[in-house]
Assembly symmetry: C2
Homo-oligomer: 293 residues x 2
C-alpha cells in the first residue's frame, strides 16, 4: 500500500512542526487528524515514521526521507498555484498584498481605498508587516517593500525614491538651534548601532541614547522627547509632535518598490493593483523627497 499524497504532506508538516498541534495548525485540521494520518501512513508503509516522545514527534530516517521529497512536491504545488494565478484574468476573488505598517498608514491607505472601490468583487487581504513574506510560497501576491532593489528572482517596479532626515520634538529643535554644540541624543535602529553618517559637522556632539529594532518604537521615543531620530521624510513629516531638524540633511534612503513573483506578476488582479499604485505614488511624490534646493 502506498500512502496518499495528502498523508505525505501531513508527514512534511509534522516534521516541520515537530508537534501534532503545530502541524495541525499549518494544515488547518484538528491535531487528532494529524495523528491518525501519520498512523495511516505508517501502516501503509509498514514502518515507523516518528518516535513518539514526551515533547513531540521526532522523525525517523524514513520520516525525514518522506519530508524531503514531500517538500519538493510542495514546491511544485506552490509553482502550480502561482502559475494558475498568473493565468487568471478575472477581477474577482482573493488578492493578498503586504507592506510595512507605517507605509500603509501614511501612504498606501488611499490607494487601497481606491482599489477596493474600483474592484468591489476582489477580496483584498492586506498583511501589514515588516517581515519579508515568501512570495514563492504565496504568502502574498504583491509586496510593497522598502529596499535597494527587488532582489532574489522577483519582478520589481520602482514606485518612488525617498529621502531620510532627522526629526525630533520642538524642544530638541530649539535647544539645538540655540546651541549647536549641545550633546545630541540619538534614538537609532539596533541594526546600525551608530549615529548616522553624513551628519552636518555644524553639530559635533552626539551619543546613542537608545536602540530599537522597530521604527514604530523609534518614532514613539522621538515623540516622547528621548532624542533625535533618523527616519524617512514621509514618516517624520506625518508624525505629530516631530519637526525636521537640520542635524542630518535630507539624503537618499532606500527606495519603495512593488515586487512580486514573475509567475504571479501578470495576473489581472495584480496588474490592476499596480495600475493604481503607480499613479498614486506619482501624485504623492512630494511626501517622500526633499524639494530640490
Amino acid at each position: 500500500m502506498e500512502p496518499s499524497w495528502d498523508d505525505l504532506r501531513t508527514v512534511l508538516s509534522l516534521v516541520r512542526g515537530a508537534s501534532l498541534a503545530s502541524a495541525a495548525e499549518e494544515l488547518g485540521v484538528n491535531y487528532t487528524t494529524v495523528a491518525r494520518r501519520i498512523s495511516r501512513a505508517e501502516t501503509a508503509l509498514d514502518q515507523k515514521l516518528f518516535d513518539r516522545l514526551a515533547d513531540g514527534y521526532r522523525p525517523t530516517e524514513a520520516g525525514k526521507t518522506i519530508a524531503e521529497h514531500a517538500a519538493r512536491m510542495e514546491d511544485h504545488a506552490h509553482g502550480l498555484m502561482r502559475q494558475l494565478q498568473g493565468q487568471d484574468n478575472t477581477l474577482r476573488g482573493p488578492l493578498t498584498i503586504t507592506a510595512p505598517q507605517l507605509l500603509i498608514a501614511h501612504a498606501l491607505a488611499p490607494a487601497i481605498d481606491q482599489f477596493c472601490t474600483a474592484y468591489p468583487e476582489i477580496a483584498l487581504h492586506v498583511r501589514a508587516t515588516n517581515d519579508l513574506l515568501d512570495l514563492n510560497r504565496r504568502e502574498a501576491d504583491l509586496a510593497i517593500r522598502i529596499s535597494r532593489d527587488p532582489g532574489d528572482s522577483l519582478k520589481g517596479l520602482r514606485l518612488t525614491q525617498q529621502h531620510s532626515a532627522s526629526f525630533a520634538t520642538q524642544a530638541w529643535a530649539d535647544r539645538i538651534a540655540d546651541d549647536p554644540d549641545t550633546l545630541i541624543d540619538w534614538v537609532v535602529y539596533a541594526a546600525y548601532q551608530d549615529v548616522p553618517r553624513n551628519v552636518d559637522p555644524t553639530f559635533p556632539n552626539h551619543r546613542i541614547r537608545l536602540t530599537f529594532d522597530d521604527m514604530v518604537a523609534i518614532r514613539a521615543a522621538a515623540q516622547a522627547g528621548l532624542g533625535v531620530a533618523r527616519m524617512p521624510l514621509f514618516l517624520g513629516r506625518a508624525t505629530p509632535g516631530l519637526v525636521q531638524i537640520p542635524v542630518l540633511p535630507p539624503q537618499p534612503y532606500a527606495e519603495i518598490w512593488a515586487v512580486g513573483h514573475p509567475d504571479v506578476w501578470p495576473a489581472a488582479k495584480v496588474t490592476a493593483f499596480r495600475n493604481i499604485l503607480v499613479p498614486h505614488f506619482r501624485s504623492i511624490r512630494d511626501k517622500f523627497v526633499a524639494k530640490a534646493a
Copy 2:
C-alpha cells in the same frame, strides 16, 4: 481555497486517461469519485478544469497546467517510494520482479521457487512480460532482461552470455542434411525482416516464409514444421519437437541481465533475489552457451 494534493493527482489521472473510467481505474477508485474530486477541485479554484464532452473529459488550459505540475509531483512521489524501498532492510513484504515469459518458463522457475522457500515472508510478484516495465515508476523492483546492456540510468548485473542457433523439426533437419541446396523456409522476427546474417554458406538457398512479432509464436510455427527459426539455445534445446540444425552456427546473442533502479538496488529484498539469481545462472550456464569447440 486550495485543492488537496490528492485532487491534483486525480486531475493528472483524468488528463492522462481522458475519461472518468480510465482515471478511476488508474487510481483504484470508483469513477464517480473521480467526477466528484474534479468538481471539488474546480470549486476550490473557482475555474473550470475540464470540458465535459460526450466522449470524455477534455482538459482546459488550467487543467493542463495542473497536470504538468502534478506530473512533477508524481515524479517526486515515485522517487520517494524508490528511496524508501532502497533503505528497506527487511526481508518481508512485497517484491515485484519482471522477466520475459519464456525465460521464466525455461530458466527462472527454479530460482523463483528457491527464493520463495528461502524467504517465505516476502510476497513475490512476478510480472511475466516482454514489455520493458518502467522501473522509475516502480512497475517492477528488479527486471531480468535480454539486452546488450542495462541501458538508461539503471544499475545492471550480467547474469550470463548466451548463444543463438537455428532450430527446426526433425523432418526439416533430415531434408536439409540430405540436400544442402534445398530451399530453406525461415520463420523470423518482424523486426528483422530478413534471413539471419552469418548463415553457413553450405546452405545457399533461403526465403522468409513468415514473420511474427513474438517468440512464442515463432517457436510454435517452427514446431509445426513451417520452417527454420533462429532462437536462443536455451529455448530451442528445451522445445519438444525441435532439433538444432547446422544452418546457422551458434553465435553470440543478447546477454541476460538483472537490471534495477539505483535507488531500489540496495534494498535487502532485491539484494536477496540477486544473490539467488547469480549462482543459479552460473549453475545453468550450459543451457545458454554452445560448448567450446
